[in-house]
Assembly symmetry: C2
Homo-oligomer: 341 residues x 2
């Protein structure tokens, strides 16, 4: 009896050790949510090559720059960009202050609440809504209002704040790169001021490391003589397509060593990154997981949608140019941080 | 004799100790080139208030932003901005590739070599020269050429590279702020791309922390299909006057806690900085040292010139709003780093 008891104790103790080692091994893997495979391997090898002293591809710490598209690369973009939802929801309040917009398109359609009609709005219509809803406010008012909205708004499918719908594996890449001396930037087609409102809390990325589509501002004084900035409708930077490398030059001033995207809007950023000397990492997320997230973009025969178009042509360019395609389905153990809790 | 000898030894030893302590005290003073006075005191008190845990004016490390004008604040700007000199010297090479400019003003005047006539060129003429000489090149070619010029060009008065004509006391402020967790930015009316060429070497300020007047770039491909950026004549940001806070919002996205300038072009940046909550440091350099550097700007009856206008009105605003005026003559023990070697 005693022997059995001792045996049992030893077994339990051994099991504890095994669990402890396994837990520790997992904790030690900075990319724990990635399955082993070419994508994970590409990231680890890139970091090793560029940060090991004496490596022929060593990059000095001050030159370590990595850029990340946001919508569809760091968090969910389907079925509608979060910022577009925000702007559409602002329309009723906007029309209250500017009643002349009430019977004008595209505002009329938005006010109708007809979701099907809204889904058919053109890119131009959306740009018109964005420009109208986001300009004319003071920068401080805009920030306060956007902060309030983002704290309260929820995604209809997951019933969670949008800020919880970031991709856990990409959060790990951000942290892993920063732990290895990289400055991580968001380079988004979305509004720079909007993304800056939450990027620090959500990704640990400070406002000055968010590059996005940016309107002008106008400096002026209020009645008491206190200076403030007002958002202007003038577009300074359309941070999509060719605008991404142009924005990177404007705001960062050097070519990234690594870039991450998920659509044709990221093509030029990936090309620009890859065209530099030495080790370069270009990665592109393929949304091929209809069950855990979404499957879309014509690459590999997925259905086309209005957001984040990943064409077959882009897929072929990726394969030809040595970009690494990340398959959400095959490369990611989990999708969202809340799945790990 | 022996006693005297011993006494002497003791005296020498004591003297050594005194010298050692004095040297150490000096080495320990991060603002060693500053005379004691209100300017030095303002800097030290600001850093203490914003970086001491528990201080009511404590600023968390990630929000510590300090902005510095460059010409006339960090280095010599008189009698002509370095970048203007660079552009004027580029005109002959430019005219070789574009002979149609040869007989057109203001290029004709520049080609004449007549320094008096050149000194009379208007601001508009200079802007025209800047836009023409700095656009149409690839970003890489521009960087290589500007780097070469800045390595070779010398200031006519000191016969030294322009990059040696930085102000030692301001270099100490940059280092002191960084040592206390501040991110230091240049916010210059000068060309962003030009200043980025040397800011890291000269001030330890990386390209992404240089905000300046910026033209657009255009993404394209060379004959072999390799992507590159070309400098465009279109002005995206005129980083002077109201353009400074606007540029700060665009590029940094938050209000600085401290700002340093020397002219009316810095007024709005100083106002914007000072208008924030908590401890704010606004400092403005008065060029009142004709002997060691230059004395100019109508403040306090100094002669007016074409660069760095510090008007009496600005001086009065500084005094009224609690900005600290730095007198080069009275506050700075030395002007240039080479004086300390």
């Amino acid at each position: 009896m005693k022997t059995t008891h001792t045996k049992n104790l030893v077994t339990v103790a051994l099991a504890c050790v095994v669990v402890f080692i396994a837990t520790n091994a997992q904790a030690a893997d900075p990319l724990a949510s990635w399955n082993d495979g070419p994508a994970k391997q590409a990231i680890v090898e890139f970091v090793k090559a560029t940060t090991t002293q004496g490596s022929p591809q060593f990059v000095p710490p001050e030159a370590r720059i990595a850029t990340f598209d946001q919508d569809g690369t760091l968090w969910v973009e389907h079925p509608m960009y979060t910022q577009v939802t925000y702007c559409l929801e602002r329309v009723p309040a906007l029309v209250k202050t500017r009643p002349e917009l009430k019977n004008k398109e595209p505002f009329k359609t938005v006010l109708s609440g007809n979701r099907e009609a809204m889904a058919k709005l053109s890119q131009d219509d959306l740009m018109k809504i964005l420009a109208t809803t986001l300009s004319g406010m003071s920068v401080d008012d805009f920030t306060a209002e956007a902060k309030k909205w983002i704290a309260e708004a929820k995604d209809p499918r997951w019933k969670r704040p949008y800020t919880e719908l970031t991709y856990q594996p990409m959060q790990e890449v951000l942290q892993y790169l920063r732990a290895n001396g990289y400055k991580t930037y968001i380079v988004t087609g979305g509004g720079q001021d909007f993304v800056r409102v939450y990027a620090e809390q959500v990704y640990g990325i400070s406002p000055e490391q968010v590059v996005g589509s940016a309107g002008g501002t106008k400096f002026g004084y209020d009645k008491s003589g206190k200076p403030f900035l007002t958002k202007e409708p003038k577009l300074l930077l359309n941070d999509n397509n060719a605008g991404k490398p142009e924005g990177i030059h404007l705001m960062i001033g050097r070519r990234p060593s690594a870039a991450f995207g998920n659509s044709t809007g990221d093509r030029q950023m990936l090309e620009y990154t890859k065209a530099g000397d030495g080790a370069r990492l270009a990665m592109i997320v393929l949304h091929d997981d209809a069950e855990r997230e979404y499957a879309y973009g014509p690459a590999q025969g997925l259905p086309d949608t209005k957001v984040g178009t990943f064409t077959q042509t882009l897929y072929d360019e990726a394969k030809k140019n040595g970009w690494t395609v990340i398959s959400m389905k095959n490369d990611w153990k989990v999708i969202f941080p809340f799945e790990t809790k």
